[in-house]
Amino acid sequence: MQKSLLRFMGILALVGSNGCLPTYDPSAPQSNLPPAVATGPQQGGTDTSSAPTAVRPQNPADGVTVWDQSGDPNLVAQQLSNVGSLDVSARKHSCNKMKFDTLGRLLVSRGVDMKAGGTSILPVPAITDCSPLINATCAARADDRLSCLGNISQPAKFVYCDARLTLGLPQYSARLAEATGQSTASGTKLFDLFASAAPELVAGTLSGAGCMLAGKPAVLFNADNTCNEAGVTCLQGYPATDDQITLCSRVVAQAVATPAASVNLKVRNDDGSESITRTIAVSAITALETGKRLAVAAVLSAAHSCE
């Protein structure tokens, strides 16, 4: 279920957001190298590839590679003209990772529980013990905790706390500011965080202060289980478009149920073998519930990949 969840989120993140993704440059750099001389037997016909042309933003390494390869500074100038001169590019909004601190407050203001024993865990410092935030199942035993944490989903507050380094907590002791760019690791962990928060948001109302309108919390889903515009708007901090609502509702409608499962928790013995300590029964999740969680996670992931 979690693999499907992540695959859906990735696709929906690509398709569903029209508000926060940067504009991609149209084409990859063209090489001016002369074609390779055929030395083998002559072959008839045209050897062409039917693979689709790769479309991706050009990164600086590409620019230098093309220049090294082609030796033609005009080609580089052409690439630069696609981006624009510094006068132009400096005036454009870029897409940086959301600050770690901001992420925590965002979750609270949308209604996610970020408290331990009634006290807010924010701001999370570098040195902190996240074990009080583990769910009861994993907290019950210490010996199989690692196995439990790897197999049983945890509340968002634990993911936020435990993955603070990956999510970008600044390393001031190393004289480093908070990383500005999203890495693969931080992006993945961000999606994990939103996947963990989704069940809470679906189960409760959007009860955080940020989602109140005239004293009432915004609603995520209508009575017919379609996505509610106010709820999606509040989740992403930006007015939801009709297309986004439609896509969100489709995710809810087309999700498949997650069957019940038994998860064996293990502990590694001194000789390297593993022993099963306990078996946890994970309840089935209905198709509707799965869909709602997917939809919420996808909206959050797509919208908040950039600040």
Binding site: W67, L80, L86, C95, T102, Y172, G181, C234
Partner: protein, 513 residues
């Protein structure tokens, strides 16, 4: 360069489908000063130092593109920042996105649903009449509230806790410091003291929030170690000279402090050999460029070196005749931590290719070198930063500038070296050494008077607002054509950062995507 932390996911691996964000960071390579010498020149005269080569590690070389001059003429993009209100039919304008990103930066959270609805209604109405039906009016009003807060009973604006917290975090990130540091006190091998790394960002944040002249960051002479309570998001007064059981203060009297330049946390965080890291940080954070930072009108070819600094060639210590460091082992022995005497006469040979940066560095760093690992000033103004000579003795001023060599006719333990320090070439020199507290404030005033520091604050604000990278580490440059009028506005409004911030976030360019 940012470090990437990779932690294995708790969830099953290899399943996530991610789209490439296409973000790359340019790496700013360190420039090597030249090839290492083979062997060291022998000491000739009595007390004359033995030169050692010291290389910065070079990682990659900067590509030289040699592009021909061309001019890109944008069609519809890149508006001048002085452009006024625009028609709502402009397809690039998106008040919703602008509100979202402004709220994230200034408020530390997404905009509330109430604010989003208010903005939506105004966009839908689409009027141009400075009412609730005018999206420009509503957007500006919301941003004004984020920055200036709301009026209290007396009609005075009170900033929100969220804005205060955001400013504190902003400056923490700019200065790359926060938390607490514990390190050795003075020349002790065992005496550990603690220093807060939050007071410098707190000072900068407080100046911002209270709309105080931001040049006070370099010149404020007292109350320069305020504290910030992250729970209540309030500032409290604090003196950097005040001592506690674990924190010794900075040993600079109130009235002679110089903003963050004498902040003990700031100095402790960037302790290094010769104090060069402190000097480099001041250059990069407050002047927004890496070294070399000073350029003569025309570079000169001097022997094998292309020399571009305006400082006289050989104005700093090096292994040429008349420019070597001389040590007085009797009256001024080289002592290391714990009182160990280093009996060598090694000194760093700042060769011609090193002098492009060290012409500047060697005229700045000694001023900050009198502070130890916890930011406490030596009572005798002895340099408390170590040299790279064998044994790591504490540095002596003549290792930076040969003009400060001890006078053999008048051996004085703490001689004054006249005019040794200045922010830039051509500015009045500030004396180093002697028993009096160094004139940190004069250095701070030189920085404050330099337009580069005002422009740098605008550049850092700009890059934060537009979600861009760091101007030095990732070369997210902002050209003069983009930032000049904002800098002029900032200066003309008594260096009020809040006002500059409001102008930036409500600019016609900011609302376009």
């Amino acid at each position: 360069m940012s470090k990437k932390n990779c932690m294995s996911s708790r969830l099953p691996s290899g399943s996530a489908t991610l789209f490439a964000m296409g973000l790359g960071a340019l790496f700013a390579p360190a420039m090597g000063c030249g090839n290492a010498e083979v062997g060291a020149a022998p000491a000739s005269a009595s007390g004359e130092g033995t030169p050692i080569s010291y290389e910065h590690a070079a990682t990659t070389t900067r590509p030289s593109l040699n592009l021909s001059t061309y001019r890109y003429i944008p069609s519809g993009d890149g508006l001048s920042s002085s452009t006024g209100k625009v028609d709502n039919l402009d397809r690039d304008v998106d008040y919703g996105l602008a509100l979202r990103t402004a709220s994230i930066k200034l408020h530390g959270d997404l905009p509330t649903l109430t604010d989003i609805r208010r903005m939506q209604a105004a966009v839908k109405a689409g009027k141009n009449d400075s009412t609730e039906n005018d999206p420009s009016f509503v957007y500006n009003d919301l941003v004004h509230t984020y920055i200036f807060g709301t009026k209290d009973g007396s009609g005075k604006y009170v900033t929100t806790p969220e804005f205060r917290r955001q400013m504190f975090n902003f400056w923490r990130n700019q200065m790359r410091m926060g938390g607490t540091l514990t390190a050795l006190f003075q020349a002790s091998m065992t005496d550990m003291r603690s220093v807060s790394l939050d007071t410098a960002p707190a000072l900068a944040a407080r100046l911002t929030v209270e709309e105080t002249d931001m040049t006070n960051l370099f010149t404020q002479s007292s109350n320069t170690c305020p504290t910030f309570d992250p729970v209540s998001a309030t500032f409290a007064d604090g003196s950097c000279a005040a001592k506690t059981d674990t924190f010794p203060g900075n040993n600079v009297p109130e009235g002679q402090q110089a903003g963050v330049l004498t902040n003990p946390g700031f100095l402790a965080q960037y302790y290094s050999n010769f104090g060069f890291r402190r000097s480099r940080l001041i250059q990069e954070v407050f002047a927004c460029s890496a070294l070399p930072s000073e350029f003569a009108a025309k570079p000169k070819q001097i022997g094998e070196y292309l020399y571009s600094s305006p400082w006289d060639f050989d104005s700093v210590t090096n292994n040429t005749d008349g420019h070597k460091a001389v040590f007085d082992a009797v009256n001024l022995p080289r002592t290391a931590r714990g009182g160990v005497v280093a009996k060598n006469t090694e000194f760093v040979n700042f060769r011609g290719d090193c002098q492009n940066c060290h012409g500047t560095q060697n005229h700045r760093a000694p001023l900050f070198g009198v502070f130890d690992q916890v930011g406490f000033r030596s009572p005798t103004n002895k340099l408390m930063v170590t040299s790279t000579a064998t044994g790591s003795p504490f540095a002596q001023i003549q290792e930076y500038q040969w003009q400060c060599n001890p006078d053999p006719a008048k051996p004085v333990a703490n001689a004054v070296c006249t005019g040794a320090i200045s922010w830039k070439y051509g500015l009045p020199g500030i004396d180093f050494g002697g028993p009096a507290v160094p004139n940190f404030n004069a250095f701070g005033k030189q920085m404050a008077a330099d337009d580069t520091t005002a422009k740098c604050m605008m550049i850092r604000l700009w890059n934060n607002a537009y979600s861009r990278d760091d101007v030095v580490d990732q070369l997210a440059l902002v050209p003069d054509a983009v930032i000049d009028d904002l800098t002029a506005y900032f200066k003309s409004n008594k260096y009020n950062l809040k006002m500059a911030m409001y102008k930036m976030y409500t600019d016609a360019n900011f609302i376009r995507f």
